[in-house]
């Protein structure tokens, strides 16, 4: 993601936990694209620190991309309410909180783009993945509301529903190749969406169709299907 924006000449602020371990990535981005790169310690779950985090940034960014997520195992979440809560907070409360704070500052300034990476899992609750899915559903609704609120204030909000992506989170899961995007495809999709001010993007177009069908199945029928 950072590579695609850096390639276009944007200065980069990387925010993550253990941001010190990103030193090599920082050098890599600087060498490849000749743009300034700064590292910032950020924990999505420590929502009380978010305001402080923003205050510490050397500069309010023009574009902010939230890529935060925790899949957890559905079975684990069913048994362990602490894990379930962690999944819910990681996928909804944390990212929504930081974007809310950014949104206010962007609104004040009168410009900016917010990108939230949510998930197709939030389009309908499924037995195999509903804890994660419900949090993503909340995040998707939050982004939609935010976009609606800021539409006339010069701030644009992009919702990204990537479908399957070949990342560490999905490693070891046997995913169908045609439905699975590479991380660089997601990044490319986001760059285009930001440029063209798109609202909701699915990275591989086939997911729009799949999710349309899944949403249209009547609940009575849906509850009998294991998927």
């Amino acid at each position: 993601m950072a590579h695609k924006f850096a390639e276009l000449g944007h200065p980069i602020q990387l925010a993550a936990r253990q941001s010190k371990t990103l030193g090599a990535e920082k050098t890599n981005l600087q060498l490849r694209y000749g743009v300034p790169v700064t590292l910032h310690e950020f924990d999505a779950l420590l929502t009380e620190t978010h305001a402080q985090f923003l205050a510490m940034l050397p500069e309010l960014p023009e574009i902010a991309v939230s890529i935060v997520g925790l899949m957890g195992s559905q079975e684990g979440s069913e048994r362990d309410h602490l894990l379930a809560s962690c999944v819910m907070r990681s996928n909804y409360e944390g990212p929504a909180n930081i974007l809310a704070l950014l949104a206010n500052r962007f609104e004040e300034r009168g410009s900016g783009t917010l990108v939230g990476v949510s998930s197709v899992a939030g389009e309908r609750g499924r037995a195999t993945n509903y804890v994660y899915g419900s949090a993503k559903a909340g995040f998707t609704a939050f982004l939609s509301g935010l976009r609606n609120r800021l539409a006339k204030r010069g701030v644009h909000v992009v919702t990204v529903l990537p479908g399957y992506v070949a990342t560490k989170m999905t490693e070891g899961i046997n995913l169908p190749a045609r439905l699975t995007a590479q991380p660089s495809e997601v990044a490319e999709g986001i760059v285009v969406a930001v440029k063209r001010k798109k609202d909701v993007i699915y990275v591989r177009p086939v997911w729009r169709l799949i999710m349309l069908i899944i949403r249209l199945i009547p609940e009575g029928l849906f509850k009998g299907i294991r998927m």
């Binding site: 090599a24 990535e25 050098t27 890599n28 060498l31 490849r32 694209y33 000749g34 560490k168």
Partner: protein, 441 residues
């Protein structure tokens, strides 16, 4: 998954792993019976295939440091040459040695110890490598160079990944003033005049000849000789000198499907080759050419190997010592012309001196040919092997997909010590490719 080299022959069913960090790589090396590292898959044959564990290194691709005083770049092995050029040419740096495609990884260039059109002047890729970090069978990482762990350094250059996993390296780039090449085209009606032109070209940084393989009799070895030097700032016309590293964006072509086997025949090739020669002869003399067109003309056509059809292509590249060159080259070209086997063009280069344990180049001439794979082709290739050996030549492992272990040994007396070194160091059991198995390395 089904894996093959750029020649798309042979195709092997192989397990591919894509580690994201050094720890994941260490785990793979420790847990698999044997592994081989793979970069962009641009070696033509089975050099970067291990059916039980092929390790795709392209995610380990960070640039780690650059010293603008010396031009030294430190990077992970999965960094691709085109990214190095994209990052550093605008700042006035270009690879010291480059192969004919920019879609190769740093690790791959070291493993094959690649050469370019400037071998005579600057030697193989080895010359710009300051040090290499190699992961051994036990997961430990050793930094080797001309001063420390010398044997590991020397065997890793040209060792086709059979000495461990190349992880990181420091390589020096060349300072250039522009992104342009001053190219001189010399039409040569036959082999002797092509060789004379190359011999006289000792002051040019780059030199290469494209031979029309279908020429026979007095046309045997008819070629275009291309000489080149990096253009300096005053060489550029005014409108270019303001942005000396900007070159025109090229239209991307691609070959969307496999050509049918009859598409390449004696007549289509003859037409293509004579047209190529005429156009080249028309453009004789000096021209300014952008770096991409000069060094990587085939990269402009994505998947060009599909022209050779579904069955794939076989590359043949040999190096002949200076003394046996003229006789050997004309015997090779005669054999090719007689078989009418349809190589588009052959590439002839003059190699300078080279000292190395297992790298391909030797002082003399190198000839590269490609052929569509057909029923008759193996006889011709065996014939070319024999001629090469008779004239004291040897073969490029990065191009090979079908040689026998005996042929390799007959052509290169360094193989014995390489194999011994592999056995003694424990590399033999841990680092193994389909090619190494075939060639009993």
């Amino acid at each position: 998954m089904k894996l093959s080299g750029w020649g798309r022959f042979p195709v092997v069913d192989a397990q591919v792993y894509v580690p994201r960090d050094v720890e994941a790589l260490q785990e793979l090396v420790a847990s698999k019976p044997s592994v081989i590292a793979r970069g962009c898959g641009r070696a033509y044959g089975d050099s970067a295939i291990n059916s039980s564990a092929t390790i795709d290194m392209r995610r380990l691709n960070r640039m780690l440091g650059f010293d603008p005083k010396t031009g030294q770049l430190i990077a992970e092995a999965g960094v691709v040459l085109c990214d190095i050029i994209a990052a550093f040419l605008p700042r006035g740096w270009f690879p010291m040695v480059t192969p004919g495609t920019k879609f190769v990884t740093l690790g791959g260039m070291i493993a094959a110890d690649v050469h370019g059109k400037n071998h005579r002047r600057h030697g193989s890729f080895r010359g710009c490598v300051d040090w290499i970090e190699v992961m051994g069978a036990d997961g430990s990482i050793q930094r080797c160079s001309r001063e420390s762990h010398v044997e590991l350094f020397e065997h890793t250059l040209g060792g086709m990944g059979l000495t461990g996993i190349i992880l990181r390296a420091a390589v020096r780039l060349r300072a250039v003033e522009t992104g342009w090449i001053r190219q001189t085209t010399i039409p040569a009606p036959n082999l002797r005049s092509a060789m004379t032109a190359l011999e006289r070209a000792q002051d040019s940084t780059y030199s290469v000849a494209w031979i029309d393989c279908l020429g026979t009799g007095e046309n045997l070895g008819r070629s275009l000789v291309f000489l080149g030097d990096h253009a300096s700032a005053p060489d550029l016309p005014i409108h270019r000198s303001l942005h000396p590293f900007a070159t025109p964006a090229k239209r991307k072509l691609s070959v969307p499907f496999n050509f049918p086997c009859f598409a390449l025949n004696r007549f289509s090739l003859r037409t293509f080759n004579s047209l190529y020669y005429r156009v080249g002869a028309w453009n004789r003399g000096q021209q300014l050419v952008d770096w991409d067109s000069y060094f990587y003309p085939l990269d402009a056509v994505a998947d060009w190997h599909r022209i050779y059809g579904r069955k794939g292509l076989a590359q043949f590249q040999c190096a002949l010592p200076l003394s046996g060159s003229e006789e050997g080259l004309s015997a090779l070209l005669q054999a090719v012309a007689k078989a009418s086997a349809g190589s588009f063009l052959a590439v002839l280069k003059r190699f300078g001196p080279q000292e190395s344990r297992i790298s391909f180049p030797m002082e003399g001439y190198s000839l590269a040919l490609d052929f569509p794979i057909t029923a008759k082709i193996s006889d011709l290739l065996a014939n070319l092997d024999r001629i090469t050996i008779e004239h004291g030549g040897r073969f490029y492992l990065a191009k090979d997909s079908r040689m026998s272990a005996e042929t390799l040994r007959a052509s290169d007396d360094r193989v014995g010590s390489f194999v011994r070194m592999r056995a003694e160091s424990g590399w033999k059991t841990s680092f193994q490719s389909a090619q190494a198995e075939r060639l009993v390395l």
